[in-house]
């Protein structure tokens, strides 16, 4: 039997493996945007200090750099590969598709990562130990190098959502894939909001140094950060509008109908909070307080970035990479330029379970003995990317979605009419497999619902099925 290149499945009940990525990604985005925004803000402040002969600003810069070292260059540095690690196990074929297309681009980003990490240490340790002209050069190259990491990753993130153009599927040209339709609005949006993030934490750090700095210098720093923050918010929101206008149609459908409305509410509130805070500190820098600025910074995590990451993940569906790899890891579309073929026809013919080398032999041929367990295996393999398939709580749970459907024929009729190539919703893949596999999935769902909507995630191959294939 020919197998396809599926990997061992990792199933995270309740929150789902996608939420594991989202949590790690949220920490990373907060840390990295703080760092990139701060690199430019600090280079600007250092230049100002040099030109206006305000050496006290260097003390502030040193403290901010230490803050970056402790937060961004620990949490940010680790959660960057952390996104990659979690994506490798949550969706190995999705991340593989990206790496096989963009390996050199990522490797180029790595050059800047190394520059960033070494330069932040060098800047911290050499401030006041080498002449300022040389230090400023290092500071500006640090700023551009940090920003360059964003230039690069945004292209890959945009491609994940959509190559933007049918052209890439036939040209295979990396430029068509990378510089896709929403590259620039996406880059400009992040490049703007990062100043609001870095500005907020910058104000928190400044407020801790209020007593150590001359009043004029202190006010200068807080005002500068506030103005940059206001600019970041205004431009970021403008570019967000442009970004939305470049999204593919299916994403717009999800934005208007599927994404929970409270995500938008949270983002709107945090933008207002940030704007009010910056306006206040711009007008009266002396009112800046650590206990005000730092909680706002933390709120950005919960109210700004986490919903944003969840929205981004949602509007990408049913794909995880370049509109050809589905969220359940099946390659669903040909990419002629790369010699990639849709796996759907093969799976329809050979069967979904039989195509996966990591499915026990005793489940590959469906019998009355193993039907429910085979159905559970299908649910975990094909649906758990977006659903909690063994319970009634957590991520879009089966227990709720199928509430009351205890008859397997009813479930089958529903799935057979809903998850077809013609009728499937734009955010969900259709079912791929043999009819008997859809029946097994239905039998499992009906069985699970009849047991109260909650069953163990364990898969046990019935003895007879195991013996038959031993």
């Amino acid at each position: 039997m020919d197998v396809l290149g599926f990997y061992p499945m990792w199933y995270v009940p309740a929150i789902g493996s996608a939420s594991v990525i989202a949590i790690i990604a949220t920490i990373h985005v907060l840390a990295s945007h703080t760092s990139v925004g701060a690199s430019i803000l600090l280079a600007y402040l250092a230049t100002k200090a040099h030109r206006e002969n305000l050496p006290q600003i260097y003390d502030y810069i040193k403290r901010y750099l230490l803050g970056l070292l402790v937060f961004s260059y620990v949490s940010g540095s680790i959660t960057g590969p952390g996104i990659w690690f979690s994506a490798s196990v949550a969706n190995p074929r999705g991340i593989s598709a990206l790496i096989h297309n963009f390996v050199w681009v990522w490797a180029a980003e790595w050059i800047w990562f190394v520059a960033e990490v070494t330069l932040v240490y060098i800047l911290y340790y050499t401030l006041g130990r080498i002449d300022m002209k040389s230090w400023l050069r290092l500071a500006w190259t640090f700023a551009i190098g940090s920003w360059a990491t964003m230039y690069i990753i945004v292209g890959i993130l945009s491609f994940m959502l959509s190559p933007g153009h049918e052209k890439w599927f036939v040209s295979g040209n990396i430029l068509d894939a990378f510089y896709n339709k929403n590259y620039f609005p996406h880059l400009l949006m992040r490049s703007s909001y990062m100043f609001a993030i870095a500005g907020t934490v910058g104000i928190a750090i400044a407020s801790l140094m209020k007593k150590d700095l001359p009043e004029k210098v202190y006010k200068d720093i807080v005002r500068t950060l506030s103005f940059w923050g206001i600019g970041g918010l205004v431009f970021g929101t403008m570019f967000f509008g442009w970004y939305v206008s470049t999204l593919p149609q299916r994403s717009l459908v999800m934005l208007s109908g599927i994404v929970p409305k409270w995500y938008y509410a949270l983002i709107f509130i945090i933008l207002l909070v940030l704007l009010s805070h910056f306006m206040l500190t711009a007008i009266r820098p002396t009112v800046a307080r650590f206990y005000m600025a730092y909680p706002i910074y933390l709120l950005i995590f919960f109210m700004g970035i986490y919903p944003e990451e969840k929205i981004r993940e949602t509007i990408r569906k049913p794909y995880v990479a370049g509109e050809f790899v589905w969220v359940n890891q099946i390659i669903a579309k040909d990419v002629p330029a790369k010699g990639i073929h849709s796996e759907v026809p093969k799976i329809q013919q050979a069967g979904f379970l039989a195509s996966n080398p990591f499915v026990p032999e005793g489940l590959k041929k469906i019998t009355p003995d193993n039907e429910i367990m085979a159905g559970k295996a299908i649910a975990i393999l094909q649906c758990s990317g977006c659903h909690n398939v063994t319970s009634s709580s957590g991520l879009r749970p089966f227990g709720q979605k199928f509430a009351g459907m205890t008859d397997k024929e009813t479930v089958y009729s529903f799935l057979a009419s809903y998850l077809t190539p013609q009728n499937h919703p734009p955010y969900m893949p259709y079912f791929v497999g043999k009819d008997e596999e859809l029946r097994a999935l239905s039998a499992y769902i009906a069985d699970m619902i009849s047991k109260g909507g909650r069953v163990s995630a364990k898969i046990e191959v019935p003895r007879q099925s195991f013996e038959a294939h031993k």
Binding site: V74, P81, G82, V103, W104, F113, L175, F178, G339, F466
Partner: protein, 441 residues
């Protein structure tokens, strides 16, 4: 009499453990047939193919891994010594412990960032090995990130409390425990990847289930772990101590000669003992490699042993004058690391080769634009690194309280680095604008 019985029991038990460990990967499940494994591996290779010649990916993977592992070793070794140093009352030990803690702190940062590249190149040509193995132990693989975060913050706590030797020691112990734990996870994932014939059996527990929780570790080899992580950490940190003495020895008044000599001597001893342990466990690991991989008959295996012996000989000679021999010892260390890195890669080639999987036959979808981007960025980066590291080197050798004034040549290098970095950004954005205009306007 009773004592002798116990001693004999313990001896026999230890011998039994050693025997089991030596058998290593040959035990466990029988595994799938070679034809099935071959088919599975080929199906798993990404249909997009490699965007460039696999051998280039392989070379870059080996070289960048060598860079990465050096700083992994100085992270672990720096902490191990810091713990010992903080326990000692003598001022020299205390001072060197603080310096090694600083080394560990910076090394972890570098280890994280330098670890990205080898994994990137590896995943392009060995994707079946890596993703399958990582997914077998998926939850542990994600916990790698969590443990690393905890470990790194403990190291920072130790650093902030470095003037209090007891607290610094306690945090350092926590830090090194977590680093060794993440080392264990990545070691297990790498080791499991070498046994594709067992993956299905492991995942399905012989056909009765699907172990999708990811909370399983299926294979571990203590000799590989000790020879690729623990002993080299001690040896490399020893060489680093010698370099530390060499770097600060002649230029900075706040480093008394007696302290410099102490650091160099201690470093050379650590390098010697760590190196000896490294060689022993490297050979023991070679003995555990299944015979059908032909490791004992491979030139790469013996080159790695020779590389280690050469390094050990240099360090042995360096015992007499460790400061003068610091840079030579570094060269010896580089040779050892590269030969070990090549040996480690050879094992992958040999393991996958048993099933007809060869990276040299990986599907190729050749393209030139993105490699140009990488090598262009690399050149830009090298100019910037050269300038930045040179300035750091000069600043470090400037006596405390003084400001280093760059020479005219250094200013020119600085201007050149700013120029190439700005040029890179302009070209990157400019190309993007042209492509967007061509495709969408």
């Amino acid at each position: 009499m009773q004592m002798t019985v116990y001693q004999n029991l313990i001896r026999w038990f230890l011998l039994w453990v050693l025997g089991v460990l030596l058998l290593g990967g040959r035990l466990a499940f029988a595994g799938q047939s070679p034809a099935e494994v071959s088919q599975m591996l080929k199906a798993m290779a990404d249909p997009a193919g490699a965007p460039f010649y696999p051998i280039v990916m392989q070379i870059l993977q080996v070289l960048t891994w060598a860079l990465h592992i050096v700083v992994v070793w100085t992270s672990v070794g720096g902490l191990l010594y810091a713990i010992y140093g903080f326990m000692r009352k003598e001022e020299n030990h205390q001072r060197l412990a603080r310096a090694m803690l600083e080394l560990a702190k910076v090394s972890v940062s570098l280890a994280i960032v330098l670890g990205v590249a080898p994994l990137l190149f590896y995943q392009v040509i060995y994707d079946p090995l890596w993703y399958a193995s990582a997914n077998l132990s998926a939850s542990w693989y994600v916990m790698f990130i969590v443990f690393l975060l905890i470990g790194y913050y403990l190291i920072w706590f130790a650093y902030f409390r470095r003037q209090n030797s007891t607290q610094a020691m306690v945090f350092s112990i926590g830090g090194v425990v977590f680093l060794l734990l993440v080392g264990f996870i990545i070691h297990a994932v790498n080791y499991q990847a070498l046994y594709p014939e067992k993956w299905v059996e492991w995942y399905t527990s012989g056909g009765i289930t699907m172990n999708h929780s990811g909370w399983n570790i299926y294979a571990f080899n203590i000799f590989r772990y000790l020879s690729l992580l623990v002993f080299p950490a001690v040896a490399t940190t020893g060489i680093f101590m010698m370099l530390y003495a060499w770097y600060f020895g002649t230029r900075r008044e706040e480093f008394p000669q007696e302290y410099i000599n102490f650091s160099a001597r201690l470093g050379s001893k650590l390098a010697l003992y760590g190196g000896a342990g490294w060689i022993v466990f490297h050979i023991l690991y070679i003995l555990t490699v299944p015979s059908e991989w032909n490791a004992k008959g491979s030139i790469f295996t013996w080159l790695s042993v020779l590389g280690l012996l050469l390094c050990a000989s240099i360090i042995f000679i360096a015992q007499k004058n460790p400061v003068r021999m610091a840079v030579t010892s570094l060269v010896g260390g580089v040779v050892a690391i590269i030969t070990v890195a090549i040996f480690r890669e050879y094992l992958r080639v040999a393991s996958a080769g048993r099933f007809g999987y060869s990276i040299y036959e990986y599907k190729l979808n050749l393209e030139w634009l993105s490699p140009m981007l990488f090598f262009g960025t690399l050149l830009t980066g090298l100019v910037l690194y050269a300038y930045a590291w040179w300035m750091a080197y000069k600043a470090g050798r400037t006596p405390k309280g003084q400001v280093y004034q760059a020479s005219e040549t250094e200013h020119h290098l600085g201007e050149a680095s700013v120029f190439v970095v700005v040029l890179w950004a302009v070209v990157f954005i400019g190309v993007g604008l042209i492509v967007i205009a061509r495709n969408y306007l």
